[in-house]
């Protein structure tokens, strides 16, 4: 293991891994993905990740803003928790200096509340036992912050000490997002609208390790450029979780007008969904995406009944994943708030114009009947045009 002295310009973070530490023979694959994702997001700052005993030790060059490191770890799936840590030689005087330096930072720096020192001694040959280390360092905390109180069960703050090849000290961990490292589960195409649901769907699939590109259907002048900007903003908000993304924008105006003129009014929405599926399939194929991801929830609107979903599924050659299918709106909204997309999603720029929305849409379509209606529209050429003329925007993974 490469050694680092505690210097002012080197930062160390201790990262806890969840599910991936339970993996068997392919654990290296997951860990490699996670390492790459973290390093990429911290780039251009220099970083080194070392793995030991089910954890990562992240060393970041001192000129990288602490805020950037912490925002990176909070948005990287695979990270269950992290703490800023200090490391020193197994020398009592150095350990005291290290503890003193650590408690000058948050969360101890407020100087009040309850705490405990918890020591784990991997190296049993160290001349002090865990209890002695805990009491001595506890005394140092109390000397510095006389208003603080020791509480062994459920303290507000913890100072943890691990005596191993070296001594590691860190405070209570900050929770990370958990999940699996993005990219370990393949690649998908997220159908991103300007609404509340689809960014949450993308976030949930990224949490299971699926890397995603995003696809938006723009119908200017029937939808405004503000609606497109809103989708770009949403893609930017979920991009750090997804370790960056590409937003593909399809000009859908011609297709929508064609549907309006060549299908029954009550079928407009279904035909539009069918066309979207066809276009999404073609784009997914071009980009090596194995699945489509949508924000549909069962029964939320007419196009999200079981029958409608069966029909749209029949229009796709690749699986359609619907991570929100069993969630109710309140649950979706709560996640949207948590990941910071809600306020953008509710901006009043609609992603579909009223003139394309039937007053009484079909809610229980028959697959055969609708497939025939779709074929009768003879829209293939237009769909191909949509794909050929699609625009692409690269969205950075930086937080």
């Amino acid at each position: 293991m490469k050694t680092f002295e505690i210097t002012d310009d080197m930062q160390l973070y201790l990262i806890r891994l969840g599910e991936i530490s339970l993996k068997g023979l392919n654990r290296n694959f997951f860990e490699k993905k996670l390492k790459n994702n973290i390093k990429l997001k911290i780039h251009p700052y220099r970083s080194l990740l070392l793995r030991e005993k089910g954890r990562f030790y992240l060393y970041v060059s001192g000129d990288c803003p602490q805020d950037m490191v912490e925002r990176t770890l909070k948005t990287t799936f695979g990270v269950v928790g992290f703490s800023k840590a200090y490391v020193c030689e197994k020398d009592w005087d150095k350990m005291v200096d290290c503890a003193k330096a650590l408690i000058e930072n948050e969360p101890f720096s407020v100087g009040t509340g309850t705490f405990k020192v918890e020591c784990r001694r991997g190296d049993k040959s160290f001349f002090m036992n865990s209890y002695q280390i805990e009491s001595q360092l506890g005394g140092i905390v109390l000397d510095r912050y006389p208003d603080m109180k020791v509480k062994v069960k459920n303290p507000e703050k913890e100072l943890r000490v691990e005596v191993r090849d070296k001594v590691y000290m860190y405070t209570s961990p900050v929770p990370g997002p958990g999940g699996l490292p993005v990219g370990c589960a393949g690649k998908g195409l997220l159908l991103l609208s300007g609404g509340i649901d689809s960014p949450v769907a993308g976030w949930r699939m990224a949490k299971r390790g699926l890397k995603q590109d995003c696809l938006y259907f723009h119908a200017y002048p029937y939808t405004s450029d503000m609606a497109l900007q809103k989708v770009k903003d949403l893609a930017t908000l979920i991009a750090p979780y997804n370790v960056g993304t590409n937003l593909v924008v399809v000009n859908f105006t011609k297709c929508e007008l064609w549907i309006k003129d060549h299908s029954k009014e009550e079928e407009h929405t279904l035909m539009m969904r069918a066309c979207m599926m066809k276009v999404a399939n073609m784009i997914a194929k071009q980009r090596g995406c194995q699945v489509l991801v949508t924000g549909e929830a069962l029964g939320q609107v007419a196009s999200q009944t079981l029958e409608s979903m069966c029909f749209t599924n029949s229009m796709s050659d690749i699986p359609v994943l619907r991570p929100l299918v069993a969630m109710d709106k309140e649950e979706i909204i709560s996640t949207a708030r948590e990941i910071g997309t809600y306020e953008t999603s509710i901006l009043p720029y609609d992603d579909c114009c009223v003139i394309f929305s039937p007053k009484h849409p079909l809610v229980r379509p028959e697959v055969e009947q609708e497939t025939k209606s779709f074929r009768d529209m003879d829209v293939d050429e237009i769909l191909k045009e949509c794909v050929d003329e699609a625009q692409e925007f690269e969205i950075s993974y930086h937080v």
């Binding site: 200017y220 002048p221 029937y222 405004s224 450029d225 509710i346 009043p348 720029y349 609609d350 114009c353 009223v354 003139i355």
Partner: protein, 373 residues
């Protein structure tokens, strides 16, 4: 802001740096300039200078009159129309919360029928508030006829009723003098006749009106606050320009309006404003057309791409509501037509070329959307 307004603004700001309320020589000079301007504007409006108050615009002028009702210990009723500007209609909640009855009469086609007003009048009514020119469709309401209905009723009951007129869209555009109709107060806004934004006037002959605002007692306490002398003088200069060429501008814009009307009808749109041949009174400066079945917002985007800044009568977005929605509803215009309403406004500087280009753009948009097919 017009060029003349800019010149006068700069000149006044530089040469009259004093606060008109100060007693030092610079303040006295500024006060003199303010009162000279008041006299000049009052003579254009046909009222005594003592009845003219400078404000920040039409909204504040209306607010002074409407909020004065709140000082009355016995709430009564105010009658207005459903096609008023939000500066009036938004007072509904405030007045109702204070126990007032707020009656907004429907105006089919954009006009208030005198019989409807006659029926609505009762002994609780303390104020009638009616606009001169509707800002959404350009219809001109017969304020003289309305005033005579109110005065007739008032003389029968012996109870005074204050008549207020929102004349923001009228001044400088169509002939308007406070002497024309038997009214008690009227609101004006400078930016409607190329004056600066944030300046306006209230004419009020009813001495009983009291402001809710408190301050340094400026404008006889009706609109306390340091006077915007440069803005007021710039407003006066532009009002003079507009008044001097009122007839000429009116005829020019009327010609434009007729052209737009003809081009619109020929392109398959319909009119929400009265037709030029309807025999009804309207301001040529505003024309409202219906671009059904295209939603207003969509049509505006297309026209904006063609270089025209028009406004929507209504908003199709589910999350927002168009400002003019309730006004068009009060004119008995159905939901579908309201959703496709477009307002075209002109000014005295609008040119023949502007109008021709607009007519071409309207024709192009019609064929792009397949309107009238």
């Amino acid at each position: 802001m017009g060029k003349r307004a800019l010149e006068v603004y700069a000149d006044t700001a530089v040469n009259f740096p004093g606060n008109p309320s100060s007693t030092h020589p610079l303040g006295v000079l500024a006060k003199q300039r303010l009162e000279d301007e008041r006299k000049a504007i009052a003579s254009m409006l046909g009222c005594p200078a003592s009845e003219l108050y400078f404000t920040s615009g039409g909204t504040e002028s209306n607010a002074i009159i409407l909020s004065s009702l709140l000082r009355s210990p016995n709430p009564g009723e105010i009658i207005t129309t459903g096609i008023e500007h939000a500066a009036v209609l938004e007072f509904r909640n405030v007045l109702e919360a204070a126990g007032w009855k707020f009656t907004a009469l429907p105006c089919p086609g954009g006009y208030l029928e005198p019989e409807r007003l006659e029926e609505a009048l009762n002994d609780k009514v303390r104020m009638v508030c009616v606009m001169r020119v509707n800002n959404v469709t350009g219809t001109v309401l017969d304020i003289k006829g309305i005033a005579s209905v109110v005065r007739k009723y008032s003389s029968k009951t012996g109870r005074p009723i204050h008549i207020h007129c929102d004349a923001v869209q009228a001044l400088g555009k169509i002939p308007f003098s406070v002497k024309d109709a038997d009214i008690d107060s009227a609101s004006f806004s400078a930016h409607k006749f190329c004056g600066p934004r944030g300046v306006g006037m209230l004419w009020c002959r009813n001495k009983a009106v009291q402001s809710l605002s408190r301050g340094g007692g400026q404008e006889k306490g009706l609109r306390p606050g340091t006077e915007n002398l440069a803005g007021i003088c710039a407003m006066g200069a532009e009002l003079k320009l507009s008044s001097d060429s009122l007839k000429e501008n009116y005829n020019k814009v009327l010609g434009f309006r007729c052209k737009i009307e003809e081009a619109s009808l020929a392109s398959g749109y319909t009119l929400l404003s009265p037709s030029k041949d309807s025999g009804k009174e309207f301001s040529p400066y505003i024309i409202n057309i219906c671009v059904k079945p295209v939603p207003s917002e969509v049509f505006l985007r297309v026209m904006s791409d063609k270089g025209f800044c028009l406004s929507a009568g209504s908003a199709c977005s589910s999350n927002s509501r168009g400002k003019a929605e309730s006004v068009l509803a009060a004119m008995n215009i159905d939901h579908e037509r309201r959703m496709s309403s477009i307002r075209i406004s002109m000014g005295r500087d609008t040119t023949e070329e502007n109008v021709s280009a607009l007519c071409t753009a309207l024709r192009e948009a019609s064929s792009e959307f397949g309107i009238g097919k």
